[in-house]
């Protein structure tokens, strides 16, 4: 992998290189740690793109564009919008599944967004610290190689849970058109045991979309802000996989 060459320090702890780094011989003095492995990054961007497509097309399915002129047979506007929605939804589902599988084989950062160590007191203390940092009550942020505990909580609920909810309700709604004997209905038809009238499932699917809109806004803002404020790389890390830090207090 091309990243290996770029980070000799992690591949094999080369003490002289670290010493040289600390002495400023590498120029910037920012230790790089490999955090986001390639599958994690690919999943991130595929999911991001799918979610944008899903939001736009999903909104247009609920609130369609003004009618088009001409013969019905000459137009397929709603059909294409729905096709894009279903296609993006299936891509999202596949990459979400792939991401879960990678959590089993990847590094420990890849597991972070799938569970929260809620039983540990320490975790909640750090969440509180992060909340205080965002409330401008703490002067210095703590440094984390992966997600900070608050970010991890946000990722777990805002991404993992919400997207899982959208995938489940999405496939349930898709199964209505796909047929009662389809695999989608066999796998996800139980949703209609919770909400027997699919009108309710539609409503929840809409609310889920808006919850994701709120998550995306906070997610992007927090990434940009942390990038500037905490003096760690955040955005470029999701492209290169490496986390750089201006200080060396990485925990």
């Amino acid at each position: 992998m091309m990243d290996v060459a770029a980070r000799p320090a992690e591949a094999e702890p080369d003490l002289s290189a670290i010493a040289a780094d600390a002495a400023g011989e590498h120029g910037v003095g920012r230790p790089a740690v490999y955090v986001y492995e390639a599958p994690v990054r690919i999943c991130h961007w595929v999911n991001a793109f799918s979610i944008i497509v899903l939001m736009v097309t999903g909104y247009l399915i609920g609130t369609p564009l003004p009618s088009v002129e001409g013969e019905a047979s000459a137009n397929f506007v709603m059909g294409y919008i729905r096709f894009a929605h279903f296609a993006a939804g299936q891509v999202l589902a596949v990459f979400f599944l792939a991401r879960i599988l990678w959590a089993f084989v990847g590094n420990h950062h890849s597991r972070q967004i799938f569970y929260l160590p809620v039983h540990r007191k320490h975790f909640w203390k750090e969440v509180l610290h992060e909340i205080r940092w965002y409330a401008f009550l703490e002067h210095e942020p703590k440094m984390y190689v992966g997600h900070n505990p608050l970010a991890r909580t946000a990722m777990f609920t805002g991404f993992t849970l919400f997207v899982a909810f959208m995938i489940v309700t999405g496939f349930a709604l898709y199964s209505e058109g796909a047929d009662i004997d389809s695999w989608q209905h066999k796998l996800f038809g139980w949703v209609f045991a919770i909400w027997p009238n699919s009108q309710d499932v539609h409503t929840w699917h809409h609310l889920g979309m808006w919850a994701l809109v709120a998550f995306v806004m906070v997610h992007i803002y927090a990434a940009v802000r942390e990038d500037i404020m905490s003096r760690q790389s955040i955005i470029s890390s999701m492209i290169s996989g490496e986390r750089h830090s201006a200080t060396e207090k990485l925990e």
Partner: protein, 363 residues
């Protein structure tokens, strides 16, 4: 009650119907049920050999629209269903007997045909105040229902009332009207929802049970798959306009005259499971969408409580003010956006202030 041991065939022969007409009827019924050509002879065989099935038809809290629909069935004719195919032993709305005479039939059927009769229920029992909101024959309907359900072979829940609760169970449901499957747990229940259900669907279900001696295949929610496995939307003749993106925007616009899709007018076809767009109504004459009005979703659970019949998105009332999911979502997203902007502004101000301080310290 000697009629109960007779077969359908012997009854219609006595009425002067020829064997030829009988076979025609069997073929027609097989066709309308969507069965294969061999099914016609199986139906004929069943009607010739099986004793007529006794049916007890009871009425709880309801409006009798199910009965009104039922008596308009064309294929098969309701006369054939009621007078020949089944032995309709009790139906307080249309039976000749009344009072104690009528009530005695219930006991008699229970004793004579234990575990063999079909209990058809139109409407539902209200459970509040010990069931006193529906008194039938001097006692709460819920007691009568439980008594007759005990020895029934199966229960048919006619209409939205018996299946889901319908209007009397709409919020706030003061009488606590409760669908049949929430009251009777130990009997097979077939739901035939709709307000009312389509006549041919009703007689079709009865014909199936009598012919094959069992309930038809049901879906997850207990509805017969042959009539309720697809949405109105899936077989709607206006579907091409939906896929094309051609919608009625106002009730009196050009698109309405052209017969475009009623999706934007709140048509509930995309969320409603029923056979209206294929079987249609009044002997196949028309159905709501064909008449220019959207589907109101009358065969779906709680359709009275899902907001206006004319809104695409359902209103949510839990938030105090009635708004749909998109309106609530936009407000929430706007609030988050404002919070983000405010937070960014505070961050910038703090950072600038911090820098100035740093500059002071170093100088």
């Amino acid at each position: 009650m000697g009629a109960a041991t007779e077969t359908f065939y012997s009854v219609i022969r006595r009425q002067g119907i020829t064997r030829r007409s009988f076979h025609k009827f069997c073929s027609l019924t097989a066709t309308s049920l969507g069965l294969g050509p061999l099914a016609a002879s199986r139906i004929a065989n069943a009607l010739e050999t099986k004793p007529r099935v006794p049916v007890i038809w009871m009425h709880g809290l309801e409006c009798t629209c199910c009965s009104e629909s039922f008596i308009r069935s064309a294929h098969p004719l309701v006369k054939d269903a009621v007078l020949s195919m089944i032995s309709l032993d009790y139906d307080d709305t249309i039976m000749a007997a009344a009072g104690h005479q009528a009530e005695a039939i219930l006991e008699e059927t229970r004793a004579k045909h234990k575990g063999q009769y079909i209990l058809a229920v139109e409407g539902n029992p209200p459970l509040n105040e010990g069931g006193m909101f529906c008194i039938d024959g001097g006692k709460p309907f819920v007691e009568k229902l439980k008594m007759m359900a005990e020895d029934a072979m199966a229960i048919i829940a006619w209409g939205a009332c018996a299946s889901w609760g319908c209007v009397q169970a709409a919020k706030p449901n003061p009488t606590q009207a409760t669908p049949i499957d929430k009251v009777i747990a130990n009997k097979p229940i077939i739901k035939v929802p709709g307000c009312p259900p389509i006549a041919e669907v009703m007689t079709g279900v009865v014909t199936f049970i009598i012919t094959f001696g069992k309930l038809p295949e049901l879906d997850r929610q207990g509805r017969p798959k042959m009539f309720y496995s697809q949405r109105i939307h899936d077989k709607c003749y206006r579907r091409p306009h939906f896929d094309a993106g051609q919608f009625v925007e106002e009730w009196d616009d050009e698109a309405a005259r052209k017969g475009y899709c009623l999706y934007k007018m709140g048509c509930k076809g995309p969320t409603t499971y029923n056979a209206c767009s294929t079987v249609r109504w009044n002997g196949g004459v028309s159905f709501p969408i064909q008449s220019g009005h959207g589907c109101i979703g009358c065969s779906e659970d709680g359709f009275w409580d899902k907001g206006s019949f004319y809104d695409r998105l359902t209103n949510i009332k839990q938030f105090g003010i009635e708004k749909n999911a998109d309106q609530i979502g936009m407000v929430a997203a706007g609030a988050v956006g404002a919070a983000v902007a405010a937070h960014a502004a505070v961050t910038a101000v703090k950072r600038l202030a911090g820098k100035r301080e740093d500059a002071h310290h170093t100088s």
